[in-house]
Amino acid sequence: MKTITLSLLLGGLLFAGASHATAADHVHASHAWIRVLPSGLPAGGYVTLQNDGDQPVALSGASSTRYADVMLHHSSVEGGMSRMTMVDTVTVPAHGKAVLAPAGYHLMLMQASTPVKPGDSIPMTLEFTDGSTLVTRFVARPANAIDAGDEPSGH
Protein backbone atom coordinates (compact mmCIF):
# COMPACT_ATOMS: atom_id res chain seq x y z
CA MET A 1 0.00 0.00 0.00
CA LYS A 2 2.75 2.34 1.06
CA THR A 3 4.76 1.61 -2.12
CA ILE A 4 1.73 2.29 -4.30
CA THR A 5 1.21 5.68 -2.68
CA LEU A 6 4.87 6.48 -3.14
CA SER A 7 4.80 5.44 -6.81
CA LEU A 8 1.70 7.53 -7.39
CA LEU A 9 3.35 10.45 -5.68
CA LEU A 10 6.54 10.07 -7.70
CA GLY A 11 4.54 9.65 -10.90
CA GLY A 12 2.65 12.80 -10.07
CA LEU A 13 5.87 14.68 -9.45
CA LEU A 14 7.37 13.47 -12.71
CA PHE A 15 4.21 14.44 -14.54
CA ALA A 16 4.29 17.89 -12.94
CA GLY A 17 7.92 18.21 -13.95
CA ALA A 18 7.25 17.22 -17.53
CA SER A 19 4.41 19.69 -17.85
CA HIS A 20 6.77 22.54 -16.98
CA ALA A 21 8.87 24.25 -19.61
CA THR A 22 12.54 23.30 -19.56
CA ALA A 23 15.40 25.53 -18.49
CA ALA A 24 16.41 26.06 -22.10
CA ASP A 25 12.89 27.32 -22.92
CA HIS A 26 13.40 30.26 -20.58
CA VAL A 27 16.97 31.15 -21.46
CA HIS A 28 18.13 33.51 -24.19
CA ALA A 29 21.76 33.67 -25.18
CA SER A 30 23.54 36.78 -26.47
CA HIS A 31 27.09 38.13 -26.88
CA ALA A 32 28.33 34.65 -27.68
CA TRP A 33 31.92 34.70 -28.86
CA ILE A 34 35.18 32.78 -28.86
CA ARG A 35 38.63 34.29 -28.47
CA VAL A 36 40.66 32.42 -31.09
CA LEU A 37 44.28 31.73 -30.18
CA PRO A 38 46.94 30.56 -32.65
CA SER A 39 48.49 27.09 -32.89
CA GLY A 40 45.27 25.33 -31.81
CA LEU A 41 45.71 26.54 -28.22
CA PRO A 42 42.71 26.23 -25.86
CA ALA A 43 40.28 29.09 -26.47
CA GLY A 44 37.85 30.91 -24.17
CA GLY A 45 34.13 30.91 -24.99
CA TYR A 46 31.86 33.64 -23.63
CA VAL A 47 28.10 34.19 -23.56
CA THR A 48 25.44 36.12 -21.68
CA LEU A 49 22.45 34.05 -20.53
CA GLN A 50 19.17 35.74 -19.72
CA ASN A 51 16.57 33.75 -17.79
CA ASP A 52 12.98 34.94 -18.29
CA GLY A 53 11.54 32.23 -16.07
CA ASP A 54 10.34 32.34 -12.45
CA GLN A 55 12.83 29.68 -11.40
CA PRO A 56 16.61 29.81 -11.40
CA VAL A 57 18.27 27.49 -13.90
CA ALA A 58 21.82 26.25 -14.05
CA LEU A 59 24.21 25.79 -16.94
CA SER A 60 26.12 22.55 -16.49
CA GLY A 61 28.31 22.55 -19.55
CA ALA A 62 28.45 22.74 -23.31
CA SER A 63 29.50 20.71 -26.28
CA SER A 64 30.39 21.36 -29.86
CA THR A 65 31.04 19.22 -32.89
CA ARG A 66 34.05 21.44 -33.59
CA TYR A 67 35.85 20.97 -30.26
CA ALA A 68 36.70 17.60 -28.74
CA ASP A 69 36.51 18.95 -25.22
CA VAL A 70 34.55 21.82 -23.65
CA MET A 71 34.83 22.61 -19.95
CA LEU A 72 33.13 25.09 -17.69
CA HIS A 73 35.79 27.15 -15.89
CA HIS A 74 36.15 30.09 -13.58
CA SER A 75 39.12 32.46 -13.43
CA SER A 76 39.86 34.33 -10.26
CA VAL A 77 42.54 36.55 -8.79
CA GLU A 78 43.30 35.94 -5.14
CA GLY A 79 46.20 37.58 -3.36
CA GLY A 80 47.57 38.74 -6.70
CA MET A 81 47.55 35.21 -8.12
CA SER A 82 45.53 34.31 -11.21
CA ARG A 83 44.08 30.85 -11.18
CA MET A 84 41.55 28.84 -13.10
CA THR A 85 39.24 26.23 -11.59
CA MET A 86 36.70 23.84 -13.07
CA VAL A 87 33.12 24.46 -11.99
CA ASP A 88 30.10 22.15 -12.15
CA THR A 89 27.41 24.73 -12.79
CA VAL A 90 26.73 28.41 -13.33
CA THR A 91 23.37 29.58 -11.97
CA VAL A 92 21.19 31.90 -14.02
CA PRO A 93 18.85 33.55 -11.47
CA ALA A 94 15.11 33.85 -12.13
CA HIS A 95 14.48 36.97 -14.22
CA GLY A 96 18.19 37.58 -14.14
CA LYS A 97 21.30 36.81 -16.07
CA ALA A 98 24.62 35.04 -15.89
CA VAL A 99 27.52 36.60 -17.74
CA LEU A 100 30.31 34.38 -18.95
CA ALA A 101 32.98 36.97 -19.73
CA PRO A 102 36.78 37.30 -19.68
CA ALA A 103 38.37 37.00 -16.22
CA GLY A 104 35.29 35.20 -14.83
CA TYR A 105 33.19 32.24 -15.89
CA HIS A 106 34.02 30.90 -19.33
CA LEU A 107 33.98 27.81 -21.50
CA MET A 108 37.40 26.35 -22.15
CA LEU A 109 37.35 25.01 -25.71
CA MET A 110 39.98 22.44 -26.52
CA GLN A 111 41.22 20.46 -29.50
CA ALA A 112 39.40 21.96 -32.46
CA SER A 113 38.87 19.34 -35.18
CA THR A 114 39.76 21.94 -37.82
CA PRO A 115 41.34 25.35 -37.11
CA VAL A 116 38.79 27.96 -36.03
CA LYS A 117 39.41 31.33 -37.68
CA PRO A 118 38.18 34.80 -36.70
CA GLY A 119 34.85 35.38 -38.40
CA ASP A 120 33.75 31.74 -38.14
CA SER A 121 30.41 31.04 -36.52
CA ILE A 122 30.58 27.95 -34.32
CA PRO A 123 27.40 26.25 -33.06
CA MET A 124 27.64 25.29 -29.40
CA THR A 125 25.12 23.22 -27.48
CA LEU A 126 24.62 24.71 -24.01
CA GLU A 127 23.51 22.12 -21.48
CA PHE A 128 21.41 22.77 -18.39
CA THR A 129 21.08 20.69 -15.22
CA ASP A 130 17.53 19.58 -16.15
CA GLY A 131 18.92 17.98 -19.29
CA SER A 132 17.57 20.58 -21.68
CA THR A 133 19.85 22.12 -24.28
CA LEU A 134 20.14 25.37 -26.20
CA VAL A 135 22.07 25.65 -29.45
CA THR A 136 23.80 29.01 -29.81
CA ARG A 137 26.16 30.28 -32.46
CA PHE A 138 29.43 31.68 -31.13
CA VAL A 139 31.30 34.12 -33.34
CA ALA A 140 35.06 33.54 -33.48
CA ARG A 141 37.00 36.74 -32.80
CA PRO A 142 40.73 37.58 -33.01
CA ALA A 143 43.01 36.93 -30.04
CA ASN A 144 43.23 40.63 -29.17
CA ALA A 145 39.46 41.24 -29.13
CA ILE A 146 38.08 42.66 -25.90
CA ASP A 147 34.43 41.60 -26.27
CA ALA A 148 31.79 40.16 -28.61
CA GLY A 149 32.22 43.20 -30.84
CA ASP A 150 29.41 43.06 -33.38
CA GLU A 151 26.34 42.99 -31.14
CA PRO A 152 25.26 46.11 -29.26
CA SER A 153 26.81 45.56 -25.85
CA GLY A 154 25.82 48.82 -24.21
CA HIS A 155 29.05 50.79 -24.49
Binding site: L37, L41, G80, R83, P102, A103
Partner: protein, 202 residues
Protein backbone atom coordinates in the same frame (compact mmCIF):
# COMPACT_ATOMS: atom_id res chain seq x y z
CA UNK B 1 77.78 93.50 -28.78
CA UNK B 2 80.64 91.19 -27.88
CA UNK B 3 79.22 90.66 -24.41
CA UNK B 4 75.84 89.73 -25.86
CA UNK B 5 77.44 87.11 -28.09
CA UNK B 6 78.91 85.37 -25.06
CA UNK B 7 76.06 86.03 -22.71
CA UNK B 8 73.27 84.52 -24.80
CA UNK B 9 74.74 81.03 -25.27
CA UNK B 10 75.75 81.05 -21.60
CA UNK B 11 72.18 81.89 -20.64
CA UNK B 12 70.90 79.03 -22.79
CA UNK B 13 73.36 76.67 -21.14
CA UNK B 14 72.26 77.71 -17.65
CA UNK B 15 68.59 77.40 -18.63
CA UNK B 16 69.28 73.98 -20.10
CA UNK B 17 71.04 72.79 -16.97
CA UNK B 18 68.19 74.07 -14.81
CA UNK B 19 65.66 72.21 -16.92
CA UNK B 20 67.70 69.03 -16.83
CA UNK B 21 68.02 69.45 -13.07
CA UNK B 22 64.27 69.75 -12.67
CA UNK B 23 63.77 66.63 -14.73
CA UNK B 24 65.94 64.33 -12.71
CA UNK B 25 65.01 65.60 -9.25
CA UNK B 26 61.26 65.83 -9.44
CA UNK B 27 59.51 62.49 -9.10
CA UNK B 28 57.29 61.63 -12.05
CA UNK B 29 53.61 62.18 -11.20
CA UNK B 30 52.75 58.52 -11.80
CA UNK B 31 49.17 57.46 -11.15
CA UNK B 32 49.65 53.73 -10.62
CA UNK B 33 51.70 52.14 -7.83
CA UNK B 34 55.11 53.78 -8.01
CA UNK B 35 57.79 51.18 -7.35
CA UNK B 36 60.77 53.41 -8.25
CA UNK B 37 63.67 52.31 -6.06
CA UNK B 38 61.72 49.41 -4.57
CA UNK B 39 62.28 46.73 -7.19
CA UNK B 40 65.50 45.69 -8.94
CA UNK B 41 66.37 46.77 -12.48
CA UNK B 42 65.20 44.68 -15.42
CA UNK B 43 67.59 41.75 -15.71
CA UNK B 44 67.20 38.24 -17.10
CA UNK B 45 68.76 35.71 -19.43
CA UNK B 46 66.09 34.09 -21.59
CA UNK B 47 65.23 33.14 -25.18
CA UNK B 48 62.99 35.40 -27.25
CA UNK B 49 60.25 34.20 -29.59
CA UNK B 50 62.67 34.15 -32.52
CA UNK B 51 64.90 31.71 -30.64
CA UNK B 52 67.57 34.33 -29.84
CA UNK B 53 69.28 34.55 -26.43
CA UNK B 54 68.40 37.87 -24.85
CA UNK B 55 69.11 39.69 -21.62
CA UNK B 56 67.47 42.61 -19.86
CA UNK B 57 70.17 44.89 -21.28
CA UNK B 58 68.89 44.20 -24.81
CA UNK B 59 65.77 46.22 -23.95
CA UNK B 60 67.55 49.30 -22.61
CA UNK B 61 66.21 52.29 -24.52
CA UNK B 62 62.69 50.84 -24.48
CA UNK B 63 59.99 51.20 -21.86
CA UNK B 64 59.08 47.61 -21.00
CA UNK B 65 55.95 46.01 -19.59
CA UNK B 66 56.78 42.69 -17.95
CA UNK B 67 53.96 40.17 -17.55
CA UNK B 68 54.10 36.49 -16.58
CA UNK B 69 51.69 33.99 -18.14
CA UNK B 70 51.48 30.98 -20.42
CA UNK B 71 49.93 30.19 -23.78
CA UNK B 72 47.63 27.39 -22.58
CA UNK B 73 45.85 29.98 -20.43
CA UNK B 74 42.67 30.67 -22.42
CA UNK B 75 41.14 33.45 -20.36
CA UNK B 76 43.14 35.82 -18.16
CA UNK B 77 46.45 35.91 -20.08
CA UNK B 78 44.84 36.71 -23.45
CA UNK B 79 42.58 39.28 -21.80
CA UNK B 80 45.56 41.04 -20.22
CA UNK B 81 47.51 40.97 -23.49
CA UNK B 82 44.46 42.23 -25.42
CA UNK B 83 44.11 45.08 -22.92
CA UNK B 84 47.81 45.91 -23.27
CA UNK B 85 47.32 45.94 -27.04
CA UNK B 86 44.58 48.55 -26.61
CA UNK B 87 46.94 50.58 -24.39
CA UNK B 88 49.65 50.41 -27.07
CA UNK B 89 47.17 51.52 -29.73
CA UNK B 90 46.17 54.48 -27.58
CA UNK B 91 49.83 55.51 -27.32
CA UNK B 92 49.99 55.84 -31.11
CA UNK B 93 53.51 56.15 -32.61
CA UNK B 94 54.94 56.55 -29.09
CA UNK B 95 54.26 52.83 -28.55
CA UNK B 96 57.23 52.02 -30.78
CA UNK B 97 59.35 53.00 -27.79
CA UNK B 98 57.69 50.33 -25.66
CA UNK B 99 57.79 46.53 -25.55
CA UNK B 100 55.44 44.07 -23.88
CA UNK B 101 57.60 41.27 -22.45
CA UNK B 102 55.41 38.20 -22.00
CA UNK B 103 57.38 35.69 -19.92
CA UNK B 104 56.19 32.07 -19.97
CA UNK B 105 55.76 30.31 -16.63
CA UNK B 106 55.23 27.10 -18.62
CA UNK B 107 58.50 26.63 -20.55
CA UNK B 108 57.80 22.89 -21.01
CA UNK B 109 55.03 23.68 -23.51
CA UNK B 110 55.96 27.22 -24.55
CA UNK B 111 58.66 26.88 -27.17
CA UNK B 112 59.87 30.03 -28.98
CA UNK B 113 57.74 29.04 -32.00
CA UNK B 114 54.55 28.72 -29.94
CA UNK B 115 55.37 31.99 -28.18
CA UNK B 116 56.00 33.74 -31.50
CA UNK B 117 52.59 32.90 -32.96
CA UNK B 118 50.96 33.73 -29.64
CA UNK B 119 52.41 37.19 -28.93
CA UNK B 120 52.04 38.30 -32.53
CA UNK B 121 48.33 37.53 -32.39
CA UNK B 122 48.11 40.37 -29.84
CA UNK B 123 50.52 43.15 -30.68
CA UNK B 124 53.53 43.68 -32.95
CA UNK B 125 55.39 45.22 -29.98
CA UNK B 126 54.95 42.13 -27.82
CA UNK B 127 57.92 39.83 -27.25
CA UNK B 128 57.56 36.28 -25.98
CA UNK B 129 60.26 35.14 -23.57
CA UNK B 130 60.83 31.56 -22.53
CA UNK B 131 63.80 29.47 -21.51
CA UNK B 132 65.30 27.44 -18.76
CA UNK B 133 62.83 26.76 -15.92
CA UNK B 134 65.44 27.97 -13.42
CA UNK B 135 66.06 31.22 -15.29
CA UNK B 136 62.32 31.90 -15.33
CA UNK B 137 62.03 31.14 -11.65
CA UNK B 138 64.92 33.48 -10.94
CA UNK B 139 63.23 36.29 -12.87
CA UNK B 140 59.92 35.63 -11.15
CA UNK B 141 61.55 35.68 -7.70
CA UNK B 142 63.46 38.86 -8.57
CA UNK B 143 60.11 40.67 -8.75
CA UNK B 144 58.54 38.75 -5.86
CA UNK B 145 56.23 37.16 -8.37
CA UNK B 146 55.13 33.54 -8.10
CA UNK B 147 53.71 30.70 -10.14
CA UNK B 148 52.80 27.09 -9.50
CA UNK B 149 51.70 24.23 -11.71
CA UNK B 150 48.34 22.78 -10.72
CA UNK B 151 47.64 19.02 -10.76
CA UNK B 152 46.88 17.94 -14.32
CA UNK B 153 43.94 16.08 -15.80
CA UNK B 154 44.00 12.58 -17.26
CA UNK B 155 44.74 13.82 -20.78
CA UNK B 156 47.94 15.48 -19.60
CA UNK B 157 46.58 19.00 -19.66
CA UNK B 158 47.34 21.27 -16.70
CA UNK B 159 46.94 24.86 -15.59
CA UNK B 160 49.52 27.17 -14.06
CA UNK B 161 48.51 29.67 -11.41
CA UNK B 162 50.58 32.82 -11.67
CA UNK B 163 50.96 36.39 -10.43
CA UNK B 164 48.77 38.75 -12.37
CA UNK B 165 50.89 41.89 -11.98
CA UNK B 166 52.37 43.96 -14.80
CA UNK B 167 55.75 45.55 -14.02
CA UNK B 168 56.74 48.65 -15.99
CA UNK B 169 60.40 49.62 -16.44
CA UNK B 170 61.74 52.88 -17.86
CA UNK B 171 64.18 53.17 -20.75
CA UNK B 172 67.12 52.74 -18.36
CA UNK B 173 65.66 49.44 -17.10
CA UNK B 174 64.60 50.93 -13.76
CA UNK B 175 61.44 49.50 -12.20
CA UNK B 176 58.82 52.27 -12.13
CA UNK B 177 55.22 51.11 -11.99
CA UNK B 178 53.28 48.10 -10.77
CA UNK B 179 49.90 47.63 -12.43
CA UNK B 180 47.22 45.00 -11.91
CA UNK B 181 45.14 43.72 -14.83
CA UNK B 182 42.16 45.55 -13.35
CA UNK B 183 44.03 48.88 -13.23
CA UNK B 184 42.46 51.76 -15.11
CA UNK B 185 43.57 51.80 -18.72
CA UNK B 186 43.65 55.62 -18.64
CA UNK B 187 46.12 55.52 -15.76
CA UNK B 188 48.37 53.04 -17.53
CA UNK B 189 48.32 55.14 -20.72
CA UNK B 190 49.07 58.22 -18.62
CA UNK B 191 52.04 56.64 -16.86
CA UNK B 192 53.45 55.15 -20.06
CA UNK B 193 53.22 58.59 -21.67
CA UNK B 194 55.31 60.01 -18.83
CA UNK B 195 57.92 57.27 -19.12
CA UNK B 196 58.04 57.43 -22.92
CA UNK B 197 58.29 61.21 -22.98
CA UNK B 198 61.30 61.28 -20.67
CA UNK B 199 64.86 60.13 -21.18
CA UNK B 200 64.47 59.27 -24.85
CA UNK B 201 67.77 57.43 -24.99
CA UNK B 202 68.54 55.60 -28.24
Amino acid sequence: MKLRRIFFPALLLVAGLLLAGCHSNEPLPLRLTNISGHMPDLDFKLTDDLGKSVTGADYRGKVTLLYFGYTHCPDVCPLTLAQLHVVMQRLGPLADGARILFVSVDPARDTPAVMHAYVNAFDPRAVGLTGDARAIEALSKRYRSAFSREPGSADGNYEVSHSSAIYVFDRAGKARVLATPSASQDDLVHDLHLLLDTGAAR
